[in-house]
Amino acid sequence: MNPTITRGIFDVLSLSSVLILLVIGMAIIVGMMKVFNMCQGELILLGAVTAFLCSKYLGNIWLGIFLAPLIVGIFGFFLERTIIHRFYVNPQAALLATFAIGLIIRETLRTRMNTQGAPVAPPIENYVEIGGTNLPVWRVVIIAVTLVLTLTIAFVLLKTNLGMKVRATLDNPELVSVSGISTKWMYACTYAIGAALSGFAGAMIVPLQTLYPNLGYDNLILMFIAVLVGGLGQFSGPIIGAAIIASTGALLGQFISPVTGQIMVVLFAVVLTRLRPAGILKGGR
């Protein structure tokens, strides 16, 4: 096969899986819990920092990828119990509060880093030759991991008892609490899982980029667009939204200038949200 075509197909798969991986945590916190979590990017950043520290000081990035969801998950749990839970009644204020949290994390890292960025070597540095071109193995791993992770979470949410409790809590907290389930802990744990998934995503994608303070924030707008296109209320909506947005961008980027491509993607998203305001999965207006 022509190497340019191989790369073209691979870029679409790779860019889509990266955005989906970044959006998974947000699909739970913003999509399902409906908390407009402006510090989602910094949860990703904290995961990336964990991977960087483990790779630099312990010489083992695998450990970082394993620890990132645990550390960021625990951090998310405390964040929810101390700050986030106060804003469920007031989503607009939540926007500001979470933005402030994100700003603090981001700028703290900026003042601590004595460099403009730090490279993180991927756990697998090999390249495979497919169709006459070299493709990075780590991107192939990310495609596979994203697929497995998305299906697993969807399965847990839709087919297990736990998933049912989570969905019930988020849909109708009053009814669930009279049924004897603690909604307080349910909310905290759901937020923590969303945070953990973002931390994991950060640790996975930081080798593709460099560690720098705006690592998560630079992706935030695209992530929010994915969630809005996909629609709130379901886990799968934002995931499908991310796939649509990223693959459109990756395809356009192969034929037109990336700057024009980015504008077209946002325009496309505006049109989609106009045609299907409740999300891609829900028809009608």
Partner: protein, 399 residues
């Protein structure tokens, strides 16, 4: 008279008393400075925000240089006093900071700015309204010829021309040009295009990417598909490292060159920095005795900024800025803006960090000693050639 007007009258009186109290110290402030008073020098850089690290380097170099000048007796018998203003990596904040420097602190000269948007935001505040000299110490996109503004960094032709000529001399015929989508990369690449075509080469692709591009996969694929002999890139951080890694590891066979490679940037790229070509006014291995002694002294006195003395952080330009201004002041025998401005036109230094430097009369830019450098896998540089003094093609002397 209701209660509201009484209150109003009272507050007017209080304001009057307070302002008369405030007048007292201000009347002292306007007494003419005695000859022994230090002369204030404005240092404008970004201590906070995304350019904070560059600011850290700039401030350390300014402190080092001013300290050195003061130890040797200052300028016209007056000690220099550094007044720092934080531009906050934001043009609006920078404009306020610049206004404070010229209107409140009444500095004799302002040196500074990291990004061109800062220069554009502060230029008129300092020179037109403030009637103060402004030295812009950064390699940049060119075309800054305003009155009272002096450029001490390299102009595009000083970096681009020797880089492209080297690539052509190595038998590179087809060029792919790419950069972030804003003024600096566009002007640099316009110069690259001109020199490539004049030298008989051809451009096989030119592509600009958004400043906040996080994943350069598409651009990498386009570069690889072009099969160009050389890639000239001005993709700025954070895109630089993933882009170059992608191109190198994707199997690109050509040479990669750019204007932003040195010991400050290459370590972020990693081992893929091996073989990156560029031209700067200073690299670590510059070994003339003046440069060696000064950089060693700097690293000793400013351990907080050790490793931040690099060309892409404009460190050599900051150093020569203060000395070129000192030479001009001494020639003018005055701190008067117009007189110093006239003397700047021919100010020169026999030795400075990186080599001798002199203003190229009529261009408002400097003749600079430039070096052709090649990156190593560990982030260090090898100097391929000392290019000697190169003239800037700017302002009156466009080519």
């Amino acid at each position: 008279m209701n209660i509201r007007t009484i209150r109003k009258g009272k507050s007017v009186k209080t304001v009057a008393i307070f302002s008369s109290l405030l007048m007292l110290p201000t009347s002292f402030m306007f007494t003419p400075a005695r000859a022994a008073d230090p002369i204030k020098v404005g240092v404008l850089t970004d201590m906070t925000g995304p350019f904070g690290l560059v600011g850290k380097s700039n401030l350390a170099v300014a402190q080092f240089t001013i300290n050195e000048i003061n130890k040797k007796g200052g300028v016209l018998g007056r000690k220099l006093k550094l007044v720092l203003a934080d531009g906050g990596s934001d043009p609006a904040i920078a404009a306020q900071a610049a206004s404070r420097l010229v209107n409140q602190d009444k500095v004799a000269v302002v040196v500074g700015g990291v990004a061109s948007f800062t220069r554009v935001a502060v230029r008129d505040v300092i020179t037109k309204r403030g009637k103060t000299l402004y030295i812009w110490p950064a390699s940049y996109e060119g075309n800054e010829c305003s009155k009272y503004v002096w450029n001490t960094g390299s102009a595009p032709n000083q970096q681009v021309d020797p880089t492209v000529k080297y690539l052509l001399s190595q038998g590179k015929k087809t060029f792919f040009l790419t950069g972030s989508d804003y003024l600096y990369p566009r002007n640099i690449l316009a110069r690259v295009r001109q020199v490539v075509l004049a030298g008989g080469g051809s451009i096989v692709g030119e592509e600009y990417v958004p400043l906040d591009m996080t994943d350069p996969s598409n651009l990498v694929s386009k570069v690889l598909a072009s099969k160009a002999d050389a890639l000239f890139e001005v993709v700025v951080l954070p895109g630089t490292a993933p882009f170059i890694k992608g191109v190198v590891n994707g199997g690109f066979k050509g040479t990669i060159a750019g204007t932003l490679f040195d010991e400050g940037i290459n370590p972020l790229i990693g081992k893929e920095a091996e073989g990156l070509i560029g031209v700067q006014d200073y690299y670590g291995p510059v070994t003339d005795s003046f440069t060696k002694t000064k950089v060693a002294a700097f690293n000793k006195q400013h351990p907080e900024a050790a490793g931040l003395f690099t060309s892409t952080f404009n460190a050599p330009a900051w150093y020569r800025s203060f000395y070129l201004w000192k030479v001009a002041v001494e020639k003018a025998k005055s701190f008067d803006t117009a007189k110093v401005d006239a003397a700047m036109n021919s100010a020169s230094l026999k030795s400075s960090i990186g080599g001798p430097v002199s203003f190229s009369p009529g261009t408002k830019h400097v003749n600079l000693t430039m070096y052709l450098g090649k990156g190593n896998a560990d982030g260090s540089q090898t100097i391929l050639k000392n290019l000697g003094m190169l003239s800037p093609f700017e302002c009156a002397k466009k080519q």
